[in-house]
């Protein structure tokens, strides 16, 4: 008997389905635009997050410059502030802690105004004009006060609420920052007197 030799036919390998790589699906120019757009978006988001994380203006820094138009139409800008100790007070008529410090600020202003080298500026934050004027009248405030139009000044100073007070020295640097109300006239004077020099 002849030996029957059967050859085991090995299962032929099925060809793997040819996958189109992702690079082939999107054209080269599309990929470049997508990556550039993505990185640009991430950069903008990072920039905005960093700006939000900065916190208020720090002592020793040069604070942002601004021009305040007061309720009676006068303007106070860098020229009027130059060479003076400038106290910038953010307040609002609806703010109860602001009422606590208002009389002391006015008394301090009356004490320093004759010197000529101290300027107080009150900035009404997110307040209505009629309510602000009523507040000024109620506390008999005589130093220049004006609205923060467009909340431009408060955003530049990155304030977190009211009251907040910043004192700029004669060299134009931020010398003092208080993110709560002054509790006494002595506290205000203690912040300003060292900046006046002999």
């Amino acid at each position: 008997m002849d030996e029957i030799v059967t050859e085991q036919t090995e299962p032929t390998e099925q060809p793997e389905p040819t996958e189109r790589p992702a690079q082939k699906i999107i054209p080269r120019w599309g990929r470049i635009i997508a990556w550039v757009g993505l990185f640009a978006l991430l950069a903008i988001v990072a920039m905005l997050l960093l700006r939000n994380l900065q916190g208020p203006v720090a002592v020793g820094q040069v604070p942002p410059t601004f021009t305040l138009t007061t309720f009676d139409g006068k303007q106070y800008g860098p020229a009027e502030m130059s060479g003076k100790v400038v106290l910038v007070n953010f307040w609002a008529s609806w703010c109860k802690p602001c009422e606590q410090e208002a009389p002391d600020l006015e008394t301090a202003w009356e004490d320093y105004q004759p010197r000529g080298d101290v300027l107080f500026l009150g900035i009404a934050w997110t307040d209505t004009e009629s309510a602000s004027l009523a507040y000024i009248d109620r506390f008999k405030i005589t130093y220049p006060n004006g609205p923060d139009l467009g909340t431009v000044i408060s955003q530049a100073y990155r304030i977190t609420g009211v009251p907040e007070t910043y004192i700029i020295d004669k060299q134009g640097k931020l010398a003092y920052a208080k993110l709560s109300p002054f509790t006494s006239l002595a506290e205000i004077k203690a912040a300003i007197d060292p900046l006046l020099g002999p």
Binding site: T18, P147, G150, V152
Partner: protein, 166 residues
Amino acid sequence: MRKSIFAFGFSIFFILVFAGIASAQQPQATPSDDQVNAIAKQLYCPVCENTPLDVCPTTACARWRDLIRQQLAAGKTEQEIKDFFVAQYGARVLGTPPPRGINLLVYLVPVVAVVAGAYILFRVYRSWKRPIPLPQSPPTDVAPPPAQAATEDEYIHRLEEEVRKG
């Protein structure tokens, strides 16, 4: 008779027209809460972020609502009132930011993302539908060529003979 009817109708028409013009120019006496809130719900005060002005309970927001009421009473339109608030308190008081500067991203990014996503999906779908090219070598177990079939027939024939012989 006909003349008097015509004169009466004409005078009624003029009275209605002038009354309409006068009432349009005249500021509203007391705008209702609904009218105030219709504008207030589109605004946000910076003091209480993420709370629309119409439901914000703070004193600051109550004063802003009073301001809207005053402006409505003075005959200002909705757009004029919103413009006033933007001028006074900045563009961030608006519920929907104006499409300017960096705010443009808010409007552009979703559209670009949707268009890009749709394009990628379209390309992927099209690549799935494209026929896969078959390999060049002929498959052995699917359809044997005639020569091989004849060989197999011969083999089976011999096998059957062997079985018959015992």
